[in-house]
Symmetry: C2
């Protein structure tokens, strides 16, 4: 029988785990919230599957906890030093600063260095749109994709994300990697012994491949060829080169490097809508736009036109009600961590 976990209990379990491992309560709750929200939205790759590596890095002393984060302020710009804290802690602080700066200046820009893997961008976007901000959030990541014409990973699948509030409609929430597909899809294909479509990946010699295993030994490709490479590079420039964080090979892989901080960089921009037009007018215009999009005729086999973030919202509603199913491996990891810190993962199960 499939075990289903209740999102609030699962979040509580993860937070308690972090607390018992020494993380201050407020920080532990942010990290747990960012993970479980990803599971709710169906972005399982960024959900509690990451709790294991977060705990391992914490225990290995690779992540700092507690204390204040320093920042510099100049006009509408803030530069935040994450000081190697958990990414979700740094990201939440960056969000607060971006919103505060946008209140004062109409736009708030926060460049972040010294951070770690911070989960999904959508986690922060959703906080911003609730405060009637338009948010643009970028992050760099360790090397996974080659530049166009290259054969080795050099840039990350650096995410591009935007959140925009609407009126009666759901907010527009775009949170996309700059790769053609998530590497997870190639892993799944390899496990099933299936081939992958042309254009997803190259083998380690740089040749296009449809062999999933060869692709895993090679590199996943950027979205749309040279365009995706360029977008990923500019994200690395804003998040890394400009903020003082790592960029390219100087962003360390959290699974492989146990000597150095990750030094991930992020870039947060918040726009204060009322500086442009009254918020209700903006909301009406968004609603009109979405209404008109959804009224468009659809292609054969397509039932409706979707707005970015809509599927993830539906998934959230379903999983809040029906619970979250974890892969066996993830459940085993969490259970094992729980035993180590006198927590029972079964307490997080959904009551049937």
């Amino acid at each position: 029988m499939t075990r289903r976990f209740h999102y609030e209990r699962l979040e509580h379990f993860c937070a308690e785990l972090f607390i018992r491992a020494g993380v201050p309560q407020e920080e532990a709750e942010m990290v747990a919230q960012s993970l479980v929200q990803a599971d709710l939205r169906g972005v399982d790759s960024h959900g509690v599957v990451r709790a294991d590596i977060y705990m391992r890095r914490l225990e290995a002393g690779m992540v700092r906890t507690g204390g204040q984060l320093d920042y510099m302020e100049d006009g509408a710009i803030r530069i935040l030093d994450g000081s190697n804290h958990f990414g979700a802690v740094v990201g939440n602080r960056a969000m607060d600063l971006a919103i505060e700066a946008s209140q004062a200046n109409g736009v708030g820009v926060v460049g972040v260095r010294g951070s770690n893997h911070f989960g999904t961008c959508a986690y922060y976007l959703l906080k911003g749109v609730q405060q009637d901000k338009i948010m643009l959030i970028l992050s760099n990541a360790s090397q996974t994709m080659p530049p166009t014409g290259g054969i080795r990973p050099f840039i990350g699948t650096n995410p591009l994300s935007i959140g925009v509030p609407a009126g009666k409609h759901l907010p527009f929430i775009l949170d996309m990697a700059t790769s053609v597909v998530a590497r997870g899809k190639i892993i799944s294909a390899a496990q099933r012994g299936e081939s992958i479509p042309q254009g997803w990946a190259i083998d380690k010699a740089g040749n296009p491949t449809t062999d999933a295993q060869a692709a895993l030994e090679g590199s996943v490709l950027p979205l749309g060829g040279a365009k995706g490479y360029a977008i990923s590079m500019f994200i690395d420039i804003l998040c890394g080169v400009l903020t003082g964080a790592g960029f390219g090979k100087y962003v360390n892989n959290m699974y492989e490097n146990w000597d150095d901080p990750q030094n991930v960089g992020h870039f947060f921009i918040a726009f204060d809508i009322p500086r442009f037009m009254p918020i209700d007018q903006f909301q009406s215009r968004m609603d009109l736009y979405i209404d008109e999009l959804k009224a468009e005729p659809t292609a054969p086999g397509v039932s409706e036109i979707l707005i970015p973030g809509e599927l993830e919202h539906r998934c959230t509603v379903t999983r809040m009600r029906e619970g979250i199913v974890l892969p066996d491996k993830v459940e085993y990891e969490l259970r094992t961590w729980g035993e180590r810190y006198a927590l029972d993962l079964s307490d997080a199960l959904l009551e049937e």
Copy 2:
């Protein structure tokens, strides 16, 4: 024998043409400069090929000239009303405002409404990087692409552009449409009777097609499927919904609508690098990044790793020296306009 035009003389010819048709000198020179610079960079689709439609709209009274452009100022935000002036005139004003606002606040954001087709984004980016700014410039455009799952054009191929100065290296200049390919490539394939790759376009019923003619009657597709649709939509939101300009079907097509102003919207962001780190430190970091990218091993058949904007720079150097070759149709149009305003296009030829 192929006729080759000298870029400065061609620019002078176009500026004179606009001046004689009633455009104030300063405005005429901006429009001419933006067109010829596109030809120099190899972006022929946005070069003097557009002089004809600009002149036709000017003579039809569809574009306003002369006078000041109004804007509102609040913190780091400027909202500029283009008042239906030529896009290049509005774009140049938006650039100046963005740079000025970034000097004062670290970041400058200019939302623009009431504009027209403004040429390439790269034209403005290059001005920004010369002043040590990182520029992000977006524009919406009239309907050419369906939303994912749709069959009719609803969003434009809304360009995303970024300019970043480097030190010893050329600046990073990305100026990309959010479509898979330029529609011009499909037109060329149709003229040659060739098929197009799967994934470029759909026919008018919404089915994928490799028939170039059917594609022209249908729609060009967004870059990377749903990701390109989402990027194009957020550009429309920032440029149109937020600024008060048109969005979706409310951005009028300059070739088809002779009743209403285009009401194009743009969005300019300038970042003042020294607020983040000393400019020479930033330039060194950019140079290191580019050096490391260019040192990457290349795939079979690839001679070098390129940085966005590098090919266009090389094209500029070549065309400055060897001249610009115009398609017969474009040369005929310019010659005809010249005769009407007592200008001889032959005066713009390169001296051999």
